[in-house]
């Protein structure tokens, strides 16, 4: 694609698949005259490039799920986008998928953007056989005659090491690992440009998880697609993702190449996440983080991490640190990033 053509499209240029800019997505409810706002995503900017696995890490209730719901364009009240841009290379406009006309959104979903969820049992219809579910999702998008479609499905299932016999099965007849592989097959069969994976292996045990992650990487590589991979497990990020964003209390606090982040984490929260992971061979358990996760209805002032941060100064309590770029391809939002430098 030429440079002018990319500029003319007004979407993200060149090798970018998704560009999110200053996104704010809040839950706003009003009950008995009391207004309540939960600022689950509060000023997030990020870009996801073609042909990469971008990891998103952070503890439960840090806004990870809200961010991916917003990106996928599945907003239900009370969640709404307050402001910010969401632009895809494969869809017009910068307002996000939920603002597209219904037929345009339908053309984009699954063909260009698909989704792998944590509980595959809740994705697959329990009353329909796997074949019927695959047909529901993909037949229309693929535009193939029935026989060719069936052959394409079987060939695709082979990529996740399932044979055609699973097509006859109901979801409950498959093991958790097989179901999650069916979910991956479902999400990738249309060769989408962009796949969102929300904790896809958290419910699996380690041996199965390793297989499933390997298959996901192989498919991503073969199709040169982009994956947004969300999990709180830093061990998975270390082995799978190319770049990594760390989220805390609705904001991105650090982002960079995964190897750089593990080698030299700059934000104190990132260092904590890496350091607190138990490892085989530890006889001493690592310390967890003190204090409770922040309440997003009433987040702390200044830097949101300051109540739990050992390096916090008076400035951190009043002023929110901006994203700085201390090294190539590495962003961090911390006034004390230099002090916290060094290996984890």
């Amino acid at each position: 694609m030429s440079a002018d053509r990319a500029a003319a499209l007004a979407g993200p240029a060149g090798d970018t698949v998704l560009r999110v800019r200053d996104l704010r997505a809040w839950y706003r409810a009003s009950q008995f005259g009391i207004r309540r706002e939960v600022k689950a995503v509060d000023g997030v900017s990020l870009t996801i490039r073609r042909d990469e696995i971008y990891g998103l890490a952070g503890e439960s209730s840090c806004g990870k799920s809200t961010l991916i719901k917003t990106i996928a364009g599945v907003l239900r009240p009370p969640l709404e986008i307050i402001d910010g841009e969401i632009a895809f290379s494969f869809a017009p406009g910068t307002a996000g998928l939920h603002r597209l006309p219904a037929d345009a959104a339908r053309r984009v979903r699954w063909r260009h953007l698909s989704y792998i969820m944590q509980g595959s049992m809740s994705v697959l219809n329990p009353l329909r056989r796997v074949r019927a579910s695959l047909r529901d999702f993909a037949f229309h998008h693929m535009g193939l005659p029935a026989a060719a479609f069936e052959a394409a499905v079987v060939a695709h299932l082979a990529r996740v090491q399932l044979d055609g016999s699973v097509l006859r099965a109901f979801p409950h007849e498959l093991s958790g690992g097989m179901r999650q592989r069916v979910a991956i097959a479902l999400a990738t069969i249309c060769r989408p440009d962009f796949v969102i994976a929300d904790e896809p292996t958290t419910a699996l045990d380690v041996v199965v998880q390793k297989d499933v992650l390997g298959m996901l990487r192989a498919i991503q590589r073969e199709m040169a697609s982009s994956v947004l991979f969300v999990t709180h497990d830093m061990g998975v990020h270390a082995h799978l993702t190319d770049r990594l964003g760390i989220m805390y209390a609705g904001r991105l606090v650090e982002e960079g190449r995964t190897a750089d982040i593990f080698a030299r984490p700059r934000h104190p929260y990132t260092r904590h996440l890496i350091r607190s992971l138990p490892r085989i061979g530890d006889t001493e358990l690592r310390q967890g983080l003190d204090g409770a996760p922040p309440n997003l209805a009433d987040p702390p002032s200044g830097c949101r991490f300051h109540p739990r941060c050992a390096l916090a100064t008076a400035r951190c309590r009043v002023e929110a640190p901006p994203m700085e770029m201390p090294a190539e391809d590495h962003r961090v939002a911390c006034f004390e990033a230099d002090r916290s430098g060094g290996s984890a």
């Binding site: 503890e59 199965v208 390997g214 270390a238 995964t258 992971l277 310390q287």
Partner: protein
């Protein structure tokens, strides 16, 4: 030799599924045997994939399921002979469970201290409100919380880690001799797991109880376990001293399990699924 605290003697469990014509038998556990000595203050870990029979074993220890073959004995008594109300009450007080998802274990509409106070009235001799409050506070302090912190709060107001601590405190109120913790940290953020699991280690030392810790997380198992049992497809694959088994696993499945754990890279190590 004194009577063991808990003894599983060739325990097996078979579930049958289906109707009269298409009956299918599923072996969830076969010939499982291990014993925990009385007063050993031990963390005994059962590890294995989903469907390996871990939870079935936990249910049999808690007398929620009857074994199909063999016997589960607590302080020498076969659990199937616990018939009277008094016997069952004493058993429940002595063997307490902690489950996987604290958000499912607590009623979302009830304030947390109501739970703890009810448990207190049933299992301790504190009859008045003030005495019960003191007992609840003591239990909460043992897990690093206090009554003042949780009073008047509902389960959704706490993080998963805090709520799991409350669940542990609830289990401690009846002063049990044995706690059965079934996947207690798999719903908890990886960064908080260590502190919860570390609590188990401390409780065994301070309160003199033993813990059956059921998990698929090898890293925390290594850190806190005295002995470990690796289960596969309902059978015991390998058992022994935790550090020895995990450092030099002998069974091929144990090795596979250990090699599948994803941890931050050591210097010079390549990522398993890098490009």
């Amino acid at each position: 030799m004194s009577v063991p605290l808990l003894e599983l003697d060739a325990v097996g469990k078979t579930y049958t599924r289906g109707g009269l014509f298409a009956r299918e038998r599923i072996v969830a556990a076969r010939d499982v045997r291990f014993a925990l000595a009385d007063g050993a203050r031990e963390v005994f870990t059962i590890i294995g994939e989903s469907g390996s029979g871990k939870t079935t074993i936990a249910k049999m220890i808690l007398a929620l399921e009857r074994p199909s073959t063999g016997q589960v004995r607590f302080r020498g008594r076969d659990l199937t002979t616990l018939r009277s109300r008094a016997d069952r009450h004493a058993f429940i007080g002595a063997v307490q469970p902690i489950f996987q998802n604290p958000f499912e274990a607590f009623n979302p509409l009830k304030r947390l201290e109501r739970y703890l106070l009810t448990t207190c009235r049933r299992f301790t001799d504190a009859r008045d409100e003030a005495g019960a409050m003191r007992a609840v506070d003591t239990a909460l302090r043992q897990v690093g919380l206090s009554l003042a912190e949780i009073r008047g709060r509902h389960p959704h107001e706490l993080s998963g880690g805090q709520l799991q601590r409350v669940a542990i405190a609830r289990a401690l109120i009846s002063k049990p001799a044995l706690i059965v913790a079934d996947e207690p940290v798999s719903m908890v953020d990886a960064s908080l797991r260590a502190s919860i699991v570390g609590l188990f280690r401390r409780l065994t030392a301070e309160l003199g109880l033993s813990i059956v810790y059921i998990t698929h997380d090898l890293a925390t198992a290594y850190a806190i376990s005295d002995r470990i049992l690796i289960m596969r497809k309902g059978e015991m694959a390998e058992a022994g001293d935790a550090k020895t088994v995990l450092a030099e696993p002998k069974h091929p499945y144990s090795r596979q399990l250990r090699d599948a754990v994803l941890q931050p890279l050591e210097p010079g190590q390549r990522p398993a699924f890098g490009r």
